[in-house]
Every structure is written in structure tokens, then in C-alpha cells.
């Protein structure tokens, strides 16, 4: 039976990590990070965690499971307006009980919950230092602690607490260049389950809700044909994805239009250094009062918008403000 390329790739990664782990301290840390990335492919659990940002704390419950149909996950906010997000592989369903509203989004091309570390670890280490810290204890579970800290001030650092036995991420601190915690996720309770709790993913009780489909037709783009490029990017950031989308909702009702007239009017480019990512949205300039001007901070996310002649460029990312500003300002239309 032919071996699937994905399996070969996984074997290669596992072998590479194993080799590293037996020969170097750095390998141990990378092995731990890979276990952390893999943990959600192997465990069924339910837990409660807090999410702390600079100006707020919220409590959420997570239910996670894996079966032959894939990975299931439920995230439910326990304070504020009731809301719940269900994920099953590439599908994301958001539920708003107070509004009796349910939205469905299905993402093409998005990796379904299972994630692999970048194959080029050296690339990651060029821009982040990876260091082990003294073991910790979160929600009654012993943890290994690893810092992944940037070597410049154009990206945030991460401190991970992963459960020693299973690798589940129990705490994650996002820190800025001054060591200030910008965002913190921390479990307060964790219970392992024998199997997927399917009752947590039953949608029957919501069948009378209004249903909105947020799927958006889009086209992946050929980078070689792009008329746009970034003149300058932070070291290590490369263009990972590009999509064409529709800005105007009217295009979702083009059945009455003449074929061929509906063309995408929003370009979405994704740049990443293998850990942090920045989205750049380019659209028609509708006038300054119709777009975000300058910067906005939302917890770990920063956004910056500025006009570019007949276009408007907006950069959004889990990176410092100076980084989104730099990227937005360096987008260039190639004449």
C-alpha cells in the first residue's frame, strides 16, 4: 500500500525531532513544542480557563475530543453575553443564544485543527530564542515551561506551560518587548474524558435559531502574478497566502447579473514568520471616512490602515503596532 505523503512528512518530522531530542537540549524543547502542537490530536478533555487582557478578564469552557470523524472542539463563554463556538475540522459554528442566532463558516484550505511545527526550525530560532524555564503547576497539573522570545521588538514573545504527560497547553502568556503580559490564557480546571462528549456538539436545540452562512467565496492567488508586494518586511516574514474576496455583499446575489461581471474587490494577503502572522487587506479607497485611519489595538491584535492612492491598505496581526504600521506603509503597487 502506498504511503501517503502526509504520513511520510510526519515520520520525517518525528524522526528529525527524535534525533534532535537525543542530541541537544534545543531538541528537547522543540520536541516539547511539537508534543504541545500534537496534543489536541490525541486527547479528549473538558476544562475551564481564563483569558486576561489589559482591560478585561473572561472565563471560557472548552470541550475537546477526537474520533474517527476528526477533531471536535467547543468554546463557550461563561460570562457576558452567552456565546459558543463549535469547531469540527474546517467548520466553525458560532451560537448566540440571546439573539437566537447561529452563524456558520466553513474555511477552505485552512488546516483543520492539527498543526505541525514549521519544518525549518532554524528559521524560527533565527528570530526567537527558545529557552526552558523551571517547571510549573497549573490547575493541579505539573507542567513544562518554555519561553519563545523574539530577538527584536517587531513581534511578541510567548511563554508556554504544557502538561508534562500529555503536552496539552495549560497556560500561554503573550509578552511584549518589555516583558509585560499583553494577553494570558490559563486553565483553572481540566478533566480528561474517555471519549468525545457528542452531546456538547449537538445542534438540535438550536434548530429554530436564525441561521447565517458567513462563507465567502474566495480565490487563492498566484503570488507570481500579484500586482502588489511589500517593499520591506520584518526579518523572517514571508508571504504565505493570498486570497481574493468580495467586499460588497451584493455580489452574493449575482445570479441576476451578467456572467463575468462580478470580480473580487478585496485582496487578502497573509505574511508570517512561522509563529506570528499579519493579514494585509487591500481594497478600493472609498474615502478616508470609510476606512480605519491609523492604528487600533484590541488585546493581542493590532491594526493599522492608510490610503494608497486609489487603494486602501489595512494590516491586522498579533504583532506590535509598529509592525502592522510598517507593513501597511510598505505595501507597493507595481506599475
Amino acid at each position: 500500500m502506498p504511503v501517503k505523503p502526509v504520513r511520510l512528512y510526519s515520520c520525517f518530522i518525528a524522526g528529525f525531532l527524535c534525533l534532535l531530542s537525543t542530541n541537544s537540549f534545543a531538541g528537547d524543547l522543540l520536541h516539547m513544542l511539537q508534543r504541545m502542537a500534537d496534543a489536541d490530536q490525541q486527547q479528549n478533555y473538558r476544562g475551564t480557563f481564563i483569558l486576561r487582557k489589559s482591560d478585561s478578564i473572561s472565563t471560557l469552557q472548552v470541550t475537546h475530543g477526537v474520533d474517527e470523524k476528526g477533531v471536535w472542539e467547543s468554546l463557550e463563554a461563561l460570562d457576558g453575553e452567552p456565546r459558543k463556538v463549535l469547531r469540527h475540522n474546517n467548520s466553525v459554528i458560532s451560537i448566540y443564544p440571546q439573539r437566537k442566532l447561529l452563524t456558520v463558516r466553513q474555511s477552505d484550505g485552512v488546516q483543520p485543527l492539527h498543526q505541525q511545527l514549521p519544518s525549518d526550525f532554524n528559521q524560527l530560532e533565527r528570530h526567537y530564542s527558545i529557552e526552558q524555564r523551571p517547571d510549573g503547576r497549573i490547575a493541579g497539573h505539573d507542567t513544562l515551561v518554555v519561553d519563545v522570545l523574539p530577538r527584536d521588538d517587531l513581534r511578541y514573545g510567548y511563554r508556554y506551560w504544557a502538561e508534562k504527560d500529555t503536552g496539552i497547553l495549560l497556560r500561554c502568556d503573550l509578552v511584549d518587548s518589555h516583558g509585560e503580559v499583553i494577553e494570558q490564557m490559563m486553565f483553572t480546571s481540566l478533566e480528561y474524558l474517555d471519549r468525545v462528549p457528542h452531546d456538547a456538539f449537538d445542534l438540535k436545540q438550536y434548530q429554530q435559531y436564525d441561521q447565517q452562512v458567513l462563507n465567502e467565496p474566495d480565490l487563492k492567488v498566484d503570488f507570481d502574478l500579484l500586482q502588489w508586494r511589500a517593499k520591506q518586511l520584518p526579518d523572517g516574514f514571508i508571504l504565505k497566502q493570498g486570497h481574493l474576496r468580495y467586499l460588497d455583499p451584493a455580489h452574493n446575489a449575482v445570479r441576476e447579473k451578467v456572467p463575468g461581471t462580478a470580480e473580487p474587490d478585496l485582496l487578502h494577503l497573509v505574511y508570517s514568520d512561522g509563529l506570528a502572522s499579519v493579514s494585509v487587506f487591500i481594497e478600493k479607497n472609498l474615502g478616508e471616512d470609510k476606512h480605519l485611519q491609523g492604528g487600533v489595538t484590541m488585546g493581542a491584535l493590532n491594526a493599522y490602515g492608510q490610503p494608497h492612492d486609489d487603494f486602501y491598505v489595512t494590516a491586522v496581526g498579533d504583532v506590535p503596532m509598529k509592525t502592522v504600521k510598517m507593513i501597511a506603509g510598505n505595501m507597493e503597487y507595481i506599475h
Binding site: 504541545m36 502542537a37 489536541d40 483569558l51 473572561s58 471560557l60 472548552v62 463563554a77 453575553e81 456565546r83 463556538v85 469540527h88 466553525v92 442566532l101 456558520v104 463558516r105 466553513q106 474555511s107 485552512v110 456538539f201 445542534l203 438550536y206 434548530q207 436564525d210 447565517q212 465567502e216 467565496p217 480565490l219 492567488v221 498566484d222 507570481d224 500586482q227 504565505k240 481574493l244 468580495y246 467586499l247 455583499p249 455580489h251 452574493n252 449575482v254 445570479r255 456572467p259 463575468g260 462580478a262 474587490d265 478585496l266 485582496l267 487578502h268 502572522s277 481594497e283 478600493k284 487600533v296 489595538t297 484590541m298 491584535l301 491594526a303 490602515g305 486609489d310 491586522v316 506599475h335
Partner: protein, 203 residues
């Protein structure tokens, strides 16, 4: 609806439709197709004993998958520019605003249209509820584009209140969708999305 049309819908759902036929089928999508497709899907689910499970099958996604191998812009090799063609800017604002003009562009545009047509048709009428357990997206639903961001981001930068996050939600969601692919991000992008969605449900 005639039997031929029903047979085509059935063939499409059963993956029995030839790839050449999928595009013409999509382009000729009719209002009733969504209801027929939903009924067939429910019947299929029932026969397989899967009606009790929440189904996440998206027929429009199936069309997109079927078309993925056909002809999309990603698969068009870079070729020489068409003589005399100037890149369109805001006035035209077509694909040439994003790409160098090449022969493949017309194909890309037509495929984009097919996707939209399929999406619209398969979701049928607005505002009518249907059992979600049978088929989430084939059920008649209100279709809301994730777009219209220009209006959504109309606040000046000086307003850094939480409302900025609310108005910026479409961009945030699109960004977090792709941020979630980075392996060490784990569920954090989705946690952020749930957090930001507080009180921000689509109106």
C-alpha cells in the same frame, strides 16, 4: 422542476457528476435546487443512519472542491502580459487591480462567478428556518457576506474603545482564521475570536 434537473442534483450530491458538467450545472442553478438538494441530503443522511448527528456538510463547498482541480488563478502559470493592456486601478477595479494581466485572468473571473452563483442558489430563500441537524448549509438561511468592511471600519483611529474591535470584526475574523494555522498558536486565535465576539453578533 423536471426530472432531469432532479437527476442532476442527485448525481451532484452522489459525486457522480462529471467534472465538465459541474460548471454548467452550477451556472444554471435554480431557486428550487437548494430545497431539492436539502431533501436529497436528508434522505441520504437518514439512509446512512446519520440524521441524528449534526451535519456540517456544505454543498457549496463541495462545488468548490469539485472545481478546485479545474481552473483557478493559482494554477495559471505566469505568462507574458497581453499587449496594450493597462492595469486597472480604482476605476475598473477588476482582477487587473491585483494581478498582472495574463491570459488566465478571464478564467479566474468566471470561476469566481460560478462559486458565487452556486453559493447563492443553494441557500435559497432568506429567513426561513430549517432543521439544522439535517444539513447546516443546504438549509434555507439568511446569506450574509463577510464583506462590507468599508462601512464596518469607518471609525477614526482616535476612537480606541471596544467598539473599534466590534466594527473591525470582519477583518479580525478573517485574520484569525489564517492565524490559527500557525502551529504554536493552538486555539488562541479562536479564543480571541470568542472573546472579541462578545456582543458583536451580526445584526
Amino acid at each position: 422542476m423536471n426530472n432531469t434537473r432532479k437527476e442532476k442534483i442527485s448525481a451532484f450530491l452522489d459525486n457522480d457528476m462529471h467534472s465538465d458538467e459541474i460548471m454548467s450545472f452550477s451556472l444554471s442553478a435554480e431557486e428550487d435546487d437548494a430545497r431539492i438538494a436539502q431533501r436529497y441530503q436528508m434522505m441520504g443522511d437518514a439512509l446512512r443512519g446519520e440524521l441524528s448527528e449534526s451535519s456540517f456538510v456544505d454543498v457549496s463547498a463541495a462545488v468548490r472542491e469539485a472545481l478546485a482541480d479545474e481552473n483557478i488563478a493559482t494554477q495559471m502559470p505566469a505568462s507574458k502580459p497581453v499587449a496594450g493592456t493597462e492595469p486597472a486601478k480604482a476605476s475598473g477595479f477588476g482582477l487587473s487591480a491585483w494581478f498582472r494581466p495574463v491570459a488566465g485572468m478571464a478564467v479566474a473571473a468566471s470561476v469566481a462567478l460560478v462559486m458565487v452563483v452556486t453559493f447563492s442558489a443553494q441557500h435559497g430563500e432568506s429567513g426561513v428556518s430549517a432543521p439544522l441537524a439535517s444539513n447546516t448549509s443546504a438549509a434555507p438561511v439568511t446569506t450574509v457576506a463577510a464583506g462590507n468592511k468599508a462601512a464596518a471600519v469607518g471609525k477614526p483611529a482616535s476612537d480606541r474603545s471596544r467598539k473599534a474591535g466590534q466594527e473591525f470584526n470582519p477583518y479580525i475574523n478573517q485574520h484569525l482564521e489564517y492565524a490559527s494555522q500557525e502551529p504554536l498558536q493552538g486555539r488562541m486565535p479562536y479564543v480571541r475570536a470568542v472573546s472579541y465576539e462578545s456582543g458583536q453578533a451580526p445584526q
